[in-house]
Symmetry: C4
Subunit: 236 residues, 4 copies
C-alpha cells in the first residue's frame, strides 16, 4: 500500500500517480469551463456533480496519504501536505459557512495544479539552477524595479503636459514602463512628444540589456547544473 502511494518507480505507483494527475486536470478543466458566461444550467449541474465527485476522491487520497505516512504529523505540516489539504478544505468550509464566501474560496482550487508540479522529478534541477544564480537574479530583479521606476519618473516629466490623462502621475506612468521595457507594447499608452520618444529610445537601450538578463542567467545556470550532474554520473 505504502509503495503505491509513495513511489513512482513501481508499476502500481505510476498508475496511482497518473490517476491523481488526471483527476487534477479534470478539476482544473471543470473550474475553467465554469467561468464561461451564459453557461446553460444543465452543464452547470454536471460540473457541480463532477466537482463533488472529485472532492470525495481528493479527500480519500489525502486520508490515504496521512494513514500511509510513517510520521503522519510531519506529512500534514509538510509543503505538499498543506497543498493537499488546501485543495479540499474550501469545499468543506463553504458548506458550513456563509454561501457568499464560497465563490472566492473556489480560488483555492488552483492549489490542485501544484500537485502536477509535485510529481515532476526534474523540478529539482531547476531549483538547483535558481540557487546557483540566486544572487544575480535578485540583483537584476532589483535593477529591473529601479529602472522601471526611474523610467516612469522620466516619462512622467516628458509626457505629463502633452497627455495629462494617460501620464497622470508617476504611478500611471509605471504601467507604461512595464508595458514598454518588457516589450509587450499594448499600444494603450505611448509617448507623443519628441523628448518622450527620445527618452524611450535611451531607456530601451539601457533597459533591454537589464530586463533580458535574468532569463539568460537561469538558462546558463541550468546548463551548468546539467554538466555537473553528467560529470558526477561519469565519475561514479
Amino acid at each position: 500500500m505504502r509503495s503505491i502511494v509513495h513511489d513512482n518507480d513501481t508499476k502500481h505507483g505510476r498508475i496511482f500517480d497518473i490517476a491523481v494527475q488526471v483527476f487534477v486536470l479534470i478539476s482544473v478543466a471543470s473550474f475553467t469551463i465554469e467561468t464561461l458566461p451564459n453557461l446553460p444550467e444543465k452543464y452547470q449541474e454536471i460540473l457541480n456533480d463532477i466537482e463533488t465527485a472529485l472532492i470525495i476522491i481528493f479527500t480519500f487520497e489525502y486520508l490515504l496519504r496521512v494513514w500511509v505516512a510513517e510520521k503522519p504529523l510531519k506529512y500534514i505540516f509538510s509543503f505538499y501536505g498543506l497543498i493537499d489539504l488546501m485543495a479540499i478544505l474550501p469545499f468543506y468550509l463553504s458548506t458550513s459557512v456563509d454561501l457568499r464566501a464560497l465563490r472566492s474560496l473556489r480560488f483555492l482550487i488552483l492549489f490542485r495544479i501544484m500537485k502536477l508540479i509535485k510529481f515532476t522529478k526534474a523540478m529539482n534541477r531547476f531549483s538547483k539552477a535558481l540557487k546557483l544564480a540566486k544572487e544575480e537574479i535578485i540583483i537584476f530583479l532589483t535593477a529591473t524595479v529601479i529602472i522601471l521606476y526611474l523610467s516612469s519618473v522620466g516619462i512622467y516629466y516628458f509626457e505629463n503636459a502633452a497627455q495629462p490623462e494617460q501620464f497622470a502621475s508617476i504611478i500611471h506612468s509605471l504601467w507604461w514602463s512595464v508595458a514598454t521595457l518588457t516589450t509587450v507594447g499594448y499600444g494603450d499608452i505611448y509617448p507623443i512628444t519628441l523628448g518622450g520618444k527620445f527618452f524611450t529610445f535611451v531607456i530601451l537601450m539601457i533597459g533591454l540589456g537589464i530586463v533580458g538578463i535574468p532569463a539568460g542567467l537561469i538558462a546558463s545556470a541550468l546548463s551548468a547544473v546539467r554538466r555537473e550532474e553528467e560529470s558526477k554520473a561519469k565519475s561514479e
Copy 2:
C-alpha cells in the same frame, strides 16, 4: 541511377537534389499565389497547369525512389517515404472523390515543404541538440503552460468585473496571457484596473524568466553539440 537519387555528394546527385528543391519551391509559390482574392481566371488556369505538371514530376520522382530503393517497402513506410506520398496523394484522391473535399485536401500540399528540410544535412545537429536538452525543454513548456493558465485565472478575477466583454471567462483570458507573456502585445485586450495592471507586472517578471528560457537552452545545447563534433574531428 541509384547514386543520383540517393547521394548528394556526386555531381549528378546534387543536380537531382537541387532540381527537386526548385520544383518544391515552385509548388509552394503556386499554392501561395492561388489564395490571392480576385485572381483573374487566366492566371488561375496557368497555376492549374503548373500544378498538374508538378504532380506528374513528383509522381515520377516517387516511383523512381521506390524503384531505386534496396528495400522498396522500407522506403514506402519510412518517414520521408510517407511525406513523398502525401505530397501527391491528394491530387489523385480529389479527381476520384467528391470535388468539395478537394479544397481542404490541397492543404496536404504543404508536406512538400518538408522535402526541403529533408535535404539539409545540418538538421542532424539540431535534432541532437533537441535530444540533449529534451528534458529541460519539456519542463519549461509545461511550466509555460501552467504559468499561462495561472495568469489567465488571475487576470480573470481582476478584470472580469471591469471588462466583462474582453475577459468574459478564463478561456477568453488565456488569449490575453498568450499575447502578453510572449510579449507580442497586439493591444486588442489589456488590463485597465490597478489590480490587473499590478498583476500583469508581477506575472511578467516571473513569466519572462520562464518563457524565454527554452530558446536559450536550445542555443547552448547547439554550441555543446558543435564543440563535441569539433573535438571528435580533432581526435580522428
Copy 3:
C-alpha cells in the same frame, strides 16, 4: 561610531544601513504619491511634513559621514559623497531662491535612489562583467544605432508617399525603428505598403540578431566573472 556608519558587517552597521534604505524608500514613495493629480490638500501637507523630516535626517546623515570620514574632503568629492549632497541640496536651494525653480529641482530627489544601489556589494560583479564585455557592448550599441538609422531611412522611402503624416521625415521614421526593432510595437505607426512590409521583415531578420546580443553578452560575461571568483575562492 565610525564602524556603524562605514561597515555593514557589524550589527549596528547593518541597522544603520537598513534605516537609511528605509528612509530613502519613504522619500521615493512620498515623491511618487505627490505627483497624483487631484490629491487632497490634507495629504499634500502630510507629504510636505514627511519631506521636511527626511531632509533633516539626510542632512544629519551627510554631516555624520563627513565628520566620521578619515579624509572629509575626499568623501565630499567622491561619487557617493556628491550623491549624498545632491539628495539634500535642492531643498536648501529652493527655500532661498525663487519658488518656481523648486518644482524642477525636486527632480534631484531621485539621486536618493542611488543610495540603495550604493549598499549592494554585488554591484561589483556586474561592473566587472561590464568591463569584460565593454568593447563588444560598445560595438553592438553602435551597430544598433546604425541599424536603427538605416532602417528609418529605408522605411521613409517606402512609406513616406503612402503615409506622409506618420512617416513625415527620417526623424519621424526613427520612432518607428525604435518601436519595431526593440519589438515593443505600440501600433501607433506601422508600414502599410507591400514594399514597407517586406523591408520590415528583412530589417527584423537582421536587426533582432543585433539588438538582442548585448543582453546575451552581459549574461555570459556575468557567468564568466562568477566562475573566475569561484575558482579563486577554491585556490585560496
Copy 4:
C-alpha cells in the same frame, strides 16, 4: 603623409580618422534634416552649402587615398575604395545628368555611413564569430522563413472566413506572421476566431524557440572568439 592616412596608431593618423568620422556624421545629419517637411528655404540653402563643402572634402580625401596607396588600382577596386567612390559619385552624376534622377541618387549618401564601420577594428571579431556560427545561422534563418510561411498558411485557413479583408491571402497573412513571431505585435492584424487564437499559441510556442536562437548563437560565438584571442595572447 602615408602614415597619417593609413595608420590610426600615430597621433596625426588618429586626428585624420576622427576628422573624417565627424564629416561623415555631419553629412548624415544634413541628409536627415533635409527630409523634414516644410523646411524653410533658408535652411535648405544652408544644408546645400554644407553638402557641397562635404563633397569637396570627401573628394579630396578620396584622391589623397588613391595617391597615397602603394597600389592605387588595388585600393580603387577594394571594398572600401568602392564605398569611398560611391559616397561622392552621385553628386557629380547629378550635376551632369537629368535633375530628376538626383533625388533617388542621394540615397547613395548612406554609403558614407559605412566609413564609420570601416574604422572600427573590432568588427573583425564580429565577422569571425559570424563565420564560426555561419552554418547554424543559415539553418535557423531557413527554419525561420519556413515557420513564417507555415504559420501564415495556417492562420489563413483559420481567419480568412472571419476576416476576409485582413487575411485576404497567404501573402497578406505573412505580414501577420512576421509581426507575431518577432513579437512586435503592432495590433493592426490579429486572429479573432478561437481556432486562430489557439493556432497562434501553438505557433508561438514553437516559433519563439526558433526565431530567438540566432541572436543566442552569435552571442555565444562572440564569447568563443574572445576566449580564443585571450588564450592566444597569453601563450604569446
